[in-house]
């Protein structure tokens, strides 16, 4: 059975590398560059871990897989001296992904592998497959085929099975008014893999934002937001990403003091 690593774990490793370089002094620097501060143990909450089976005994690699409604990510970590193939260069079978019976999601586009001029991949290999998102909870079932070789030998072809649930991305839609316009947006996004909750600028809280994976802060046209402007300026600081729309979006961004603000000239 392969070892599971989360995206958060890979982020943490990057952070640890930098922390080592800076001999511990980075901690004091963080307020300089972070506004809300990234969670050093942060993970992509809607990127669910999947089950990977079929790893041979004593295989010189570890593997993990995660997915959200739009993307499957497989990470292979080969031991030093071993390589896999991104394309057919006459060595071993290149990495190939196939959806199998029971999968409710479809591939969107080609398999994405790291670029390598020689067609050989070593070390940490991130394999990415975009999916066509659909409404509600889904299930992914896929097969990953590849070969790995060292300078002297190739192991027999490897076939891994990847499976698990796909949960919708939790999205908080913040609107000036809960009206038909807001309903249309919620319905549209619901059909594309998002679990949408709707609230208003008046009622939104940091806690409600951070209980989701993502915030979408909507706006109507300039001067048509029925008093929501002041609320946009007081929008909560969130840990989750914000997609800020239109006029209220510029006010939200400016009020949060970002290096992405409109201004006076």
């Amino acid at each position: 059975m392969g070892m599971f690593l989360s995206s958060g774990a890979s982020y943490n490793r990057a952070m640890q590398t930098i922390l080592r370089v800076l001999s511990g002094r980075l901690v004091a620097c963080l307020p300089l560059i972070l506004l809300a501060g990234p969670s050093l143990t942060g993970t992509l909450r809607a990127q669910h871990e999947l089950t990977v089976t079929g790893v041979p005994e004593e295989a010189p690699f570890t593997v993990s897989a995660t997915a959200d409604p739009a993307r499957l990510i497989v990470e292979l970590q080969l031991e030093r001296g071993w390589h896999a193939y991104a394309r057919d260069v006459g060595g071993g079978d290149p990495i190939r992904l196939t959806m199998t019976k029971g999968s409710t999601v479809k591939r969107a586009g080609r398999l994405r592998l790291p670029r390598d001029k020689k067609g050989e991949l070593s070390g940490r290999i991130r394999i990415e497959q975009w999916l066509t998102p659909s409404a509600g909870q889904g299930r992914i079932a896929a097969r990953l085929n590849f070969m790995i070789c060292d300078p002297m030998q190739c192991l027999p072809p490897i076939e891994l099975s990847i499976s698990g649930k796909i949960e919708p991305v939790r999205l908080l839609l913040v609107v000036p008014e809960k009206d038909a316009h807001a309903e249309r947006i919620g319905k549209f996004l619901g059909a594309r893999g998002f679990a949408v909750q709707t609230t208003s600028y008046k009622d939104v809280t940091a806690k409600a934002c951070d209980a989701q994976d993502l915030v979408l802060a909507d706006s109507k046209l300039f001067r048509k937001n029925a008093g929501a402007s002041r609320k946009a300026r007081g929008f909560p600081r969130t840990k989750v990403p914000i997609v800020a729309v239109g006029f209220l979006g510029t006010q939200l961004i400016e009020a949060q003091g970002l290096a992405m603000a409109s201004g006076y000239i």
Binding site: L32, L35, P133, L258, I265
Partner: protein, 308 residues
């Protein structure tokens, strides 16, 4: 801004994954007020005829706003993504789709009844893209960048009558009182001032003035000018470090003041050993105007993972 966008960064994931966004395009002659100018998405300027993508079905009954990158507010932040410009009556460089850290700006309607097919796919892609940015680093804005001063040299210059408030009021209003004496209030004066001082100005430091209308006021760094070291260049940083070890007392003092002024105290060496400090930090730092004119940790250095 209306319902159109141009200069789209079409290879960016927000236009590619999971849906390949297909827009309806219209061709238009380049507006007169775009002539002779460049922007982050049009580094060589807009051609005589250019394409615009429809994000909404028809013109909105009012105005969509844009983020005004041409004013030099934020585009110097490493990792900032300019993805589309709006069809703006104001100036080239008005962003309608952009990202910095965990924040994404969408300048059009997201009502499915108003969005075009291309806009719908792009919005969904942008949401999935941002979903993966939970750990991205949003950088705090402190002051306008020096690029904002360039705008005054042309904004409204060809209008009839010319728009004079920029050069007569706003440019000098953005300077520390003493620095205003270096400036003549005209378009020609703005051009001369920008060519002479732009590489040496700074703002946002302790002891400087934060004006209610113009924000942090700018001053001219006489130390950097005397040394001939533009304050944001890496060569200047390396020269200051070299001079700080030298025996020319005046140059050494100027160099040390520059190091103190521009290297953020949170990363500056406590023991004054600038050479050793630079060997450690060389690949991890960048200069950013909009955070307060600092050499500081590069925000994207912290985002890099071993696989990138």
């Amino acid at each position: 801004m209306d319902h159109l966008g141009h200069g789209l960064a079409l290879q960016h994931p927000v236009f590619q994954h999971p849906f390949k966004a297909e827009f309806e395009w219209v061709e238009e002659p380049r507006p007169k007020h775009y002539e002779g100018f460049t922007s982050p998405l049009w580094p060589k300027g807009v051609p005589a005829t250019y394409r615009l993508a429809s994000f909404e079905i028809g013109k909105p009954d009012g105005f969509n706003p844009t983020l005004v990158s041409h004013e030099g507010f934020f585009t110097d932040v490493p990792g900032f993504e300019n993805l589309a410009e709006g069809h703006s009556a104001k100036a080239l460089g008005s962003l309608s789709l952009a990202r910095q850290g965990k924040h994404f700006y969408w300048g059009y309607s997201i009502d499915p009844d108003r969005m075009t097919a291309g806009a719908k796919d792009t919005l969904v892609n942008a949401l999935y893209y941002m979903h993966s940015k939970r750990d991205s680093l949003t950088v705090q804005f402190v002051c306008k960048t020096r690029a904002s001063f360039k705008v005054y040299t042309y904004l409204g210059r060809d209008s009839e009558p010319p728009y004079m408030r920029g050069v007569e009021e706003h440019l000098p209003g953005s300077l520390m009182p003493k620095a205003r004496a270096t400036y003549t209030r005209s378009f020609e004066g703005a051009e001369t001032w920008v060519s002479q001082y732009l590489d040496y100005i700074y703002a946002g430091k302790a002891g400087m003035i934060k004006d209610k209308k113009y924000g942090w006021l700018f001053d001219i760094d006489e130390d950097a000018m005397k040394l001939g070291t533009p304050n944001s260049s890496r060569k200047s940083l390396e020269r200051w470090i070299a001079l700080s070890k030298g025996d020319q007392a005046e140059d050494k003092a100027r160099a040390l003041r520059c190091l103190e002024r521009y290297v953020h105290p949170k990363i500056a060496p406590k023991d004054g050993n600038w050479t050793r400090w630079y060997a450690t930090y060389k690949d991890l730092i960048c200069f950013i105007d909009s955070t307060g004119f600092w050499w500081q940790l590069d925000p994207i250095a912290l985002e890099r993972s071993p696989t990138k």
